[in-house]
Symmetry: C2
Subunit: 245 residues, 2 copies
DNA sequence: CGATCTGTTGATGCTCATCAAATCCAGTGG
DNA sequence: CCACTGGATTTGATGAGCATCAACAGATCG
């Protein structure tokens, strides 16, 4: 059930069957969330740590002007809002971009996990730090790169992340996200997103059909998008992950 | 010595003299860093938790095109890179914007702190979560707001943060930051920054002389910048902090 | 099968970057 | 003490990048 999550954690350290078991026993029943529905809502008190088993989601905020800003894309195997229990109200929401299956570890059980599974806790902690450095890189992306490079950078990141979870097939993976949603992540409109996407297509870097992205020329896309995967901190267990593509 | 830090932590919970003492005993000697010099450098292994005693600094990254993107401004009392020890190399740098005085808690002593001072650890943890939600808000700012509102929003945030550390005098505080540096934080050039700044001045929202910012009309600036301080999570100890201005 | 959502393309205009030049100021060395 | 230098700020002119508005085609769905 937690296959994708542990695939990802393997990039930090290999988990033991006991640890996998310990984590599974702490979780609540699976919650099914329909596309478009909020998994976590702004203003609500945080109720625990969530793990996305299936589907894609996005963390977002809305400005007074009604503009949506996506703060992160969440894919199967992602664990989110670890350690959020010190805050009394969520300052953002998380919405299901596709039908999702989610499990939750209630706050009171998280403490037990820290005490009883320190090694696993470190791995989860590591994944939180990766989320944080990814957020920093997004700010660099939105603040400092022109839109075409911004998209190229994002697609590189999503490929690597999908790959660490075991969601890829060579250089392609399911990307069930609309151009409008991609635009909301990068601070551009869906109209401009369409133009930028077609540029990457015309230059033979990618194809995107039926919600499946295929990267045709990894080196070119990586170079064009100024993508340096060091911020994903994968080199502890697999130093060459981004190289052997 | 840690006055500003504990002022800020007071927004979460009041620390006991014993806790203040415990933290002070863990720190290394004060390090003096010249203006323009890096306090923490990209590629280096993280060497511990840092506390800024005096001066301002910025967390930043540089793109291949040579553009600087500021990820955070650090002011006296800020503690940074808590829990960073799980990552093997820094993915960004921190530079002193003014002459700075910094102390460091080495990694091996941080563990002891967690064990011996759980209550204090929670407070430090809380400040890390606030940094994280501040980063999210920066992404919203850069990705979704026009430049004048972006600046207004940033200035509101800086006032509140300076205020929680005890660095303000009514509605004014030392802001020893050039317009170029402000621009690098918001993804605009220094030329455009100058125009935007003069707009806020002309509309009688602020003055900025000799490195001191004064907010002339808090309500107007807040409204204009779409500033909602909930993301700073100050309402646990002082629900009205942003209101009683 | 109409209704809605998504993606595409064209036309137009605004925001901000870029280039350039002038002013101001702090620091430096003669 | 003053000339010189380099950084910070300001203002103007021009152009690039992206938003906005609009129209349409294809896909999806109740």
């Amino acid at each position: 059930m937690l296959r994708y999550l542990f695939n990802r954690l393997d990039n930090y350290q290999t988990s033991t069957p006991q640890e996998i078991d310990a984590l599974e026993r702490l979780t609540s029943p699976v919650r099914v969330v329909a596309k478009g529905e909020d998994i976590v809502q702004q203003q609500q008190p945080p109720n625990g740590v969530h793990i996305l088993l299936e589907g894609w989601a996005s963390r977002y905020k809305v400005t007074r002007e009604g503009k949506y800003q996506t703060l992160a894309f969440l894919m199967p195997g992602d664990i989110f809002d670890l350690h959020i229990n010190l805050i009394d109200r969520m300052d953002h929401s998380i919405v299901a971009l596709t039908p999702c299956r989610v499990i939750t570890i209630p706050n009171h059980r998280v403490e037990a996990l820290y005490e009883q599974q320190p090694r696993l806790s470190h791995a989860l902690f590591w994944s939180t730090l990766v989320d944080l450095s990814t957020l920093r890189e997004w700010l660099v992306n939105v603040g400092s790169r022109p839109s075409a490079q911004r998209l190229a950078h994002l697609l590189c990141e999503l490929l690597i992340r999908a790959r660490t979870a075991g969601l890829t097939n060579d250089l392609s993976f399911e990307l069930p996200i609309t151009q409008r949603q991609l635009g909301e992540a990068m601070g551009i409109t869906s109209v401009h997103m369409s133009r930028v996407m077609s540029k990457l297509r015309k230059e033979d870097m990618i194809t995107l059909n039926d919600g499946r992205l295929e990267i045709l020329d990894w080196e070119k896309l990586k170079e064009f998008g100024d993508f340096e995967p060091t911020y994903l901190h994968l080199d502890r267990a697999h130093p060459d992950l981004a190289k052997d593509l």
